[in-house]
Amino acid sequence: MIDLLGYGAFFLSTALIFGLIALGLNLQWGLTGLFNVGIAGFVAIGAYSSAILTSPDTPDRIGGFGWPIVAGWLAAALITAGAAAFTGYATLRLKADYLAITTFGVAVVVQLVALNAQGLTGGPFGVAFIPRPFASVQDQAVLFNFANLGVIAVVTLAAYLALERLSRSPWGRVLRALREDERAAIALGKSAQSYRIQAFAVGGAVMGLAGAVQAHFIGFIAPDNYLPTLTFQVWAMLMVGGSGSNRGALLGSIVVWAIWVGSGTVTASLVPQDWQARAASLQIVAIGVMLCLILLWRPQGFFGPRRRQ
């Protein structure tokens, strides 16, 4: 029973971190209509930034700055926002597809840097000994899991409330106006490019923050955590939840993560050992097909706002 509670807290923590990423994506896609295919890259930038700034000194890698965790998180958000702003600056004055292609490239390059720039990122071995919140109660698993769940829930709630406020603010109204009718918004004197870069940067900041929170929750990061599958998962979460709705982004994350973990557990127990890798790829096929089906039949998602005609 106690184990189950601890596992529940762990599951919910992971799901809420996905939810945080999905909140960032919802600002970029749901509110502004910017297509980001490099989510994994931006999450990784945040995770590595905070990990490098807070983890203890290691001989082969830059580090030992000894920043407090919260400072690491803020830095992660700022650095990721900077990377996102530059990506937006280079592409948003051009065609919409160029942003997608470039973000795809960002994810590829971040993955390369994580793997190969050993002096910065620790290479394939990653960064270990990232300080975890409430590390003093680490041997009491249940208490530790719940304390961390509390931290993650507070961060997610804060981001949720801030984004809700932002989307109702005049700034959010401009973003919606740009998405719905760009010409009209420009005619009212709003610079489309500048607002879009801002939205992309703020969304990136949320993703970077999520990456940092996750890095400190697990205590260890490696390049393998940031493969394209992560990008796919977050997209599926937002599309299931309903793009445009922050509540939907969070609910979608919990639902999709439950399906993902559940189907993973079922295949692990039913499928013979040498077929496990194949079963895992079938899981991704299912997500891809689901994404396409949602686009075809229910583009507003399942928990999203009803579109007023």
Partner: protein
């Protein structure tokens, strides 16, 4: 210093260029960047592998590592890949295109790409496989460059395909219609161009060339489910560098990227190869977004 990297670059560049033709045509005619294009490449290679297997393996035409069965398989696989693209268009892309939001089509191609790639991993596992495991002797050409018979044959094949494409786009009726439609869809409809046929031709050509490129990769390097994904960024970069809609631009862009990648491997380190396409892409977007042969949109 060995100049081998120049030849390696030209070979990699031809594979990228062949793939980029499809990317550039899809973008200029169907108006979206197709993230599943790399997976056409992988599916094409596996289709050819399956056909070679069904034909009972390959007796090599010395000094090549492959024989007639592979050539037959190439043609069959090109047709199968084209069919895959048409089915995908009918099931997914055409329906979303009709709604008129191009970015939704991009997203669908992203979902389809993931499904297609993982389906290959499901069927064939992620272990790399080969058309032939025979080791080929390379002939020295001087200046430290060595070339194998396979490489000569596939470079010739690329040349034939690219010249054929150029003649088709420049002189055939369908090629002219495709160019007209990409320049001005509304006007093209008014003068009675059969849009459905143009769309079909675009998919067939793009997928068939992607398949040819995938088979080339399979013969010269290896076949694996991720082979298309790893060439996707170079292909996009080549299409944008060459100028969207330009076939010769895509081929030239592919060669430039292939050569730059080979130079990076030679002078910087093989592990940074994949970053080259991104650096070139960013440079083009910042300096000359319409590319080498692009036309500014009116």
């Amino acid at each position: 210093m060995s100049l081998q990297f120049l030849l390696d670059g030209v070979i990699a560049g031809s594979m990228i260029g062949l793939g980029a033709i499809g990317v550039t045509l899809t973008y200029s005619i169907l108006r979206f960047s197709n993230f599943a294009h790399g997976d056409f490449m992988a599916w094409g290679a596996y289709a050819a592998l399956a056909v070679v297997g069904a034909l009972g393996g390959s007796t090599a035409l010395k000094p090549l590592s492959f024989g007639l069965p592979l050539l037959v398989a190439l043609v069959v696989a090109m047709a199968l890949t084209a069919l895959l693209a048409l089915v995908l268009d009918w099931l997914l892309f055409a329906r979303l295109r009709a709604r008129g939001q191009s970015i939704i089509v991009v997203m669908a191609s992203f979902g389809a790409s993931m499904a297609l790639r993982s389906l290959l991993e499901f069927i064939f596992t992620s272990r790399p496989t080969y058309f032939s495991r025979a080791i080929q002797m390379a002939t020295p050409l001087g200046l430290g460059i060595k070339i194998t018979a396979d490489q000569v044959a596939l470079l010739l094949l690329t040349l034939v395909l690219v010249v054929g494409m150029h003649l088709f786009m420049a002189h055939s009726q369908r090629g002219r219609e495709m160019r007209a439609y990409s320049q001005n869809p509304a006007l093209a409809k008014v003068v009675g161009i059969d849009v459905a046929a143009v769309v079909r031709a675009t998919w067939v050509i793009g997928a068939a060339l992607a398949c040819a490129s995938g088979v080339m990769v399979g013969v010269l390097v290896q076949i694996r489910p991720l082979m298309g994904l790893s060439l996707l960024l170079p292909m996009f970069a080549a299409a944008i560098l060459g100028g969207i809609g330009s076939v010769r631009g895509a081929v030239l862009g592919g060669l430039i990227i292939g050569l730059s990648e080979a130079a990076a491997v030679q002078f910087v380190g093989a592990e940074w190869r994949q970053a080259v396409a991104f650096v070139i892409l960013m440079a083009v977007l910042l300096i000359r977004p319409i590319g080498l042969f692009g036309v500014a949109e009116r």
